[in-house]
Amino acid sequence: MLRITCPYCGERDYVEFGYGGDAENTMPELSDTDIGRWADYVFFRNDPKGEHAEFWHHQHGCRQWLRVVRNTVTHEVISVRPASETDAPTQGKQVEVA
């Protein structure tokens, strides 16, 4: 059973999470009216054989969206961090937010 270590809740079965796909594709600005850029963002995905950065939503836990790096061949989870964070990856239960 694929297990993801939520930075807030600890290691959990992946069924607690919703899948969000490619996390490297960034959404254009809303004001961007370029159809090509939007279509690239919405439809065209990174789909590597190997390490993949992807979003997971801890739906049945803390309801946080996470950015997970995972190997798509071995399913090994390499790092997990909150989706909103862009700095170094964190893993493990103790995350002090305050």
Binding site: M1, V15, G21, D47
Partner: protein
């Protein structure tokens, strides 16, 4: 090539089966071909067969990294149907169905195409309405369809749960009588035999590891058995489409996902058609050997792992028992998985790629087995004539930018929901 018939079977049996010859030649790669097809699945082999048969192009190699039919062709739940509704899909899949109907005779290889009927169950009035719409479109396109009432489903498939205990009561279903199953391996072998007899080289144990380029154009492939030049390179690699496209510098509207399948012990016949649950993604049929073949949803995350995880095993088994209570005391003997090329609208992509010399055939999602003959037929046409056939004209790559998705399920760009 020995012609197959009841007579030859009998004759050879008397000779201790010593007289049979190889079904296809095990070819060594030549330095160059007119067309190199990457992927010895049903689609690649069928493409080679129709290139030779319909277009007279026989200087063709099918290059397979493992053994032919070892990809999704050899691991799918073998459902063949053409109950499609969206323009662009309907005629394509019906054309495929027509080819299925003549395939065994065309190939002189019994692919056990067994039109035993397929029923999509409905569990709410809204689903009945949707089935009505689909069935009507099918009929208007010359595809057989029948809307069954609850009672009619009951009569046809008595072993489903019609009790008050059913969580999702059966309201009725959409039946396609000509739909059914076929023997997956035989499709690969039959096309290989037919293609090989027409001069196509089938090269197994040969992985394409890159492309040969000449001024921005692809002119051949690098393989684990050396370079092979080709005027045209056509990929038909299903679950490896994104990966092979990436090697050519392309990013596609495709995600690769794992899909599992399951088989029980062989039992005497209990279910005589294919039944799809309408409440969750799940379907069941019985193989000729007697095993119940079960399939359902994706594991739900990008994967090239070709093995499935427990939650989906549980989901599928629970769905099996919810739909067909008698499976409770039957046993699962094996479960396996394939890697699926899930496209963003659930429909395939078959066209010339933006890279000169390279052709794309992928994005078949759950449904590419049934497409095998038409896919080969249309892909051969596209490769030979440099133009799509009318049947695959809509399976373009630019449809996403242009807003012409072929979204059979209305799920939008969430490939794991198709």
């Amino acid at each position: 090539m020995t012609h197959y018939s009841a007579f030859s079977l009998f004759k050879e049996a008397l000779r201790g089966n010593k007289g049979w010859s190889r079904a296809w030649r095990d070819a060594e790669p030549k330095p160059a071909y007119d067309v190199v097809i990457i992927g010895g699945g049903g689609h690649g082999l069928a493409t080679a067969y129709y290139l030779a048969k319909e277009h007279g192009i026989t200087n063709v190699a099918v290059v397979e990294k493992g053994y032919i039919g070892g990809g999704n062709t050899g691991r799918n739940t073998t459902i063949v149907r053409s109950n499609y509704m969206i323009d662009g899909n309907t005629s394509f899949y019906e054309h495929s169905m027509k080819l299925w109907e003549g395939m065994s005779r065309d190939l002189n290889f019994n692919v056990m195409y067994s039109p035993r009927g397929q029923i999509n169950l409905c569990h709410s009035p809204a689903q009945m309405d949707a089935a009505m719409r689909r069935g009507n479109i099918m009929r208007m396109n010359g595809i057989d369809a029948e809307l069954l009432s609850r009672e009619a489903v009951m009569k046809r498939v008595p072993i489903l749960d019609y009790s008050a205990n059913a969580r999702f009561p059966i309201h009725g279903g959409l039946l396609q009588e000509r739909a059914g199953t076929a023997r997956h391996d035989a499709v690969a072998w039959g096309y290989a035999r037919g293609a090989s007899a027409r001069g196509v080289d089938i090269i197994q144990g040969c992985e394409v590891t890159g492309y040969q380029w000449d001024r921005g154009r692809i002119v051949g492939v690098e393989t684990t058995r050396g370079p092979i030049k080709a005027k045209k390179v056509a990929m038909a690699v299903a679950g490896h489409t994104s990966h092979m496209a990436k090697m050519a510098g392309l990013r596609l509207p495709i995600e690769t996902h794992v899909l599992q399948a399951f088989v029980t012990e062989a039992i005497k016949p209990v279910i005589d058609c294919v039944v799809s649950f309408g409440a969750v993604h799940f379907y069941i049929s019985q193989s000729d050997k007697g095993g119940l073949v079960l399939g359902g949803d994706l594991d739900g995350h990008n994967s090239y792992g070709q093995r499935g995880d427990l939650p989906i095993v549980e989901e599928n088994m629970a769905a099996a028992k919810a739909l067909v209570p008698l499976v409770s005391r039957l046993q699962l003997v094996r479960h396996w998985a394939g890697v699926m090329d899930m496209s963003m609208d659930g429909s395939p992509i078959m066209c010339k790629s933006p890279v000169e010399g390279l052709y794309i055939n992928g994005g078949w999602c759950y449904g590419g087995f049934k497409a095998t003959p038409a896919s080969g037929w249309c892909y051969a046409h596209t490769i030979a004539t440099e133009r799509p056939h009318a049947l695959n004209a809509r399976f373009t790559l630019d449809r996403f930018h242009r807003g012409y998705q072929i979204d059979e399920k209305g799920m939008g760009p969430t490939p794991w929901a198709h």
